[in-house]
Symmetry: none
Subunit: 401 residues, 2 copies
């Protein structure tokens, strides 16, 4: 029996409400030896008070030392084992532009590229064509017709686009057509198993038609397909935890991840003010709210320590409005660390704050990485955070007599 | 290889002695924001001194967020994975009144209930008849005869009783006959698989005879059977850890749990003084002593904070007598938390204190929930506590060369 089988069998609906506030990439590092992290440097009186009165800890997104992408990072926070549930790259690309995937659809990423007269790759990214060019070329690709297949083709950014194949008997175990080097032609799509033969031949047909359509374009006179995948079949949060779950996220990727676990994705909004208004308007309709704040990650990725500090302070200032709704449990954490020092995601554990009437106070007096070491939740795999929240919300019955 | 396979292969007998002192439901919560827990409020000079000189930590009974019953709580402390070993409700009921179960017996819980002239349930608990009435009705049920089956029927409390079926080919995968609602008749016992068909038909025969016996009783004119189960087949502590283990417990449930893992259950005693005398008398005969103290749980269940504090102080006062035996390892912990604030078991981690000549001192200076955060054992699943004790007792050889 694993933790999800447990929550599935113990779940009970007592009407309590949980907010999971994800400040993407929240964890950080000092830029000077001994200095503060971004979260420690930020003036966060509201989070500090919550930390002092409630319980803190540190979440390990996947396993110690492992740096997660956004997919595994969020799956862990939603209570799924990110090592068991794997999201194919094509699926993530499709989710990232708000495409809806059926369980039997195969999604893939596309790259426009440049080939020479002999068909050998000259530039795998077609000189990073502007996104507008990408959109124009995608429009042309929409004339592709394949018997028995519904195609959805959407531009993503620069040379990247997404393709969703809908039809009978499609499976995603097909090799990338990108050889990862120039000087050779793109590879033919090759099935890794018998059931994916059909998908491979459909991809080959797609590429053949695309070659004809693109042949006179410059520089994007060819394309490659990568990351073929079906959406992983995973039980919904409602099934596992008995909560009506809603997602309030500005960026499509996070709405897509939420959709993957069966959340109700609320209509796109533009900023924190609109997100909080959305939370307020939907308060009675749902039990669990995934509230996503992007800018702690993007500023970290930019290596902009002061701006990450500012974004944390911006979030802190809105905490009273969120607490005014009187959630039974409020969690503030990140899906991973994004230290400005590293300009990238990292493996460092992520600060966690859990506020609830039933939490056991601990030794943490402010919300920061060093203080969280003194937290009563200890250091734990992020996939346990949701069961911990359900426990504090009174949403799990006793296990065994 | 799991931890029990490890201990099984590494165990060695060096004659050392371990006491596992379980203060049931030990962990607590403050009743006022920022206030002390029961354990923190209690004056515990003896436990505090042991905590300061030895090592502390926090045990997660099952997994984070999961509230355990007494069965899983104790199995974890005995070193078993409470998610692997599952104790059926019928078995727990039988253990709870000191019935001995063979490996092929099926135990079930019984409820007296009230049905109307059409046989429909009017009261699933027969107006909660007094325990004396239950005993009188059970005495009448003892006239039931079923070919090839030895029956043991014992009153438990109010409308509840226990039945043990002994015979050939009995398996416990039989559905409850309690439909959980009134206005419908009790269900017929239904086998969940082929091998349990025989048990289901025997249960049906038991119920038919009982109906005839009870028909003129008021209000308890019918009964229902629930929680059919065999005792789970689990290796004994002697097999796994190489210890001669003994249980010193006032209440039958805990003696039953100890019997389940192959402990020698010492004769029932009435109070702490008798428990300590029993420990002393049996000191030379065993290597491992499970010493159970109930009242930290029952006072928590009652929501009586000051009384739980008092019970903790009562236990603390006896620590010198226990230490006078010079155990190689003394552990003081609980099987779960029972905060007075919640009046129930909870998911919060449980304070652990381990005293031994070989423990590494840590930063905890008293025995309490917040201090245990500073403990050298960290926060860990309770099922690892027993291996930790064996390590400190010198009872595990090196793993690998």
């Amino acid at each position: 029996m694993n933790i999800q089988e447990l929550t599935r069998s113990l779940k009970t609906d007592n009407g309590s409400k949980i907010i999971l506030l994800v400040a993407d990439g929240l964890g950080g590092l000092p830029v000077e030896p001994g200095g503060p992290t971004e979260l420690e440097a930020a003036a966060t009186p509201n989070l500090d008070r919550l930390a002092a009165e409630n319980v803190c800890g540190l979440a390990v997104p996947v396993l110690p030392g492992i740096t997660p992408g956004s997919g595994p990072g969020h799956l862990g926070l939603f209570g799924y084992d990110p090592l068991e549930v794997q999201i194919g790259r094509g699926v993530l690309e499709a989710l990232g532009i708000d495409l809806t995937l059926g369980p039997a659809d195969v999604a893939s990423r596309g790259n426009f590229c440049t080939v020479n007269a002999s068909g050998e790759l000259v530039d795998r990214r077609a000189g990073r064509i502007p996104t507008e060019t990408c959109a124009r070329l995608v429009e042309k690709l929409r004339q592709i017709r394949i018997q028995g297949i519904d195609l959805t083709i959407e531009p993503v950014r620069e040379y990247r686009f997404a393709v969703v194949f809908k039809g009978q008997d499609l499976y995603g175990e097909v090799e990338d057509t990108d050889p990862q080097v120039t000087g050779v032609p793109p590879l033919a799509p090759k099935a890794r198993n018998a059931r994916s033969e059909r998908m491979a031949s459909i991809a080959a047909e797609f590429i053949a038609q695309a070659r004809a359509i693109l042949k006179d374009e410059k520089p994007a006179n060819m394309l490659m397909l990568r990351g073929f995948a079906r959406k992983p079949p995973i039980p919904s949060m409602q099934e596992l935890y008995g909560v009506r779950a809603a997602a309030i996220a500005v960026y499509p990727m996070y709405r897509g991840l939420a959709r993957l676990v069966g959340m109700n994705v609320l209509p796109p909004v533009a900023n924190l003010t609109e997100q909080i208004a959305c939370l307020r308007e939907n308060w009675e309709k749902f039990d669990f709210f995934f509230f996503h704040f992007k800018y702690t990650d993007s500023t970290g990725e930019d290596g902009n320590f002061p701006m990450k500090v500012k974004r944390i302070e911006e979030l802190d200032a809105r905490i009273p409005e969120i607490m005014a709704l009187q959630p039974d449990v409020l969690i503030v954490t990140g899906d991973h660390s994004t230290p400005s020092l590293l300009k990238s995601h990292s493996w460092h554990p992520v600060p966690v704050l859990l506020a609830s009437r039933h939490c056991r106070p601990d030794r943490a007096t402010t919300f920061g990485e060093r203080e969280c070491i003194l937290g009563g939740l200890g250091q734990f795999e992020a996939r346990y955070l949701l069961p911990i929240a359900l426990g504090h919300a009174g949403r799990l019955q006793k296990y065994g007599a």
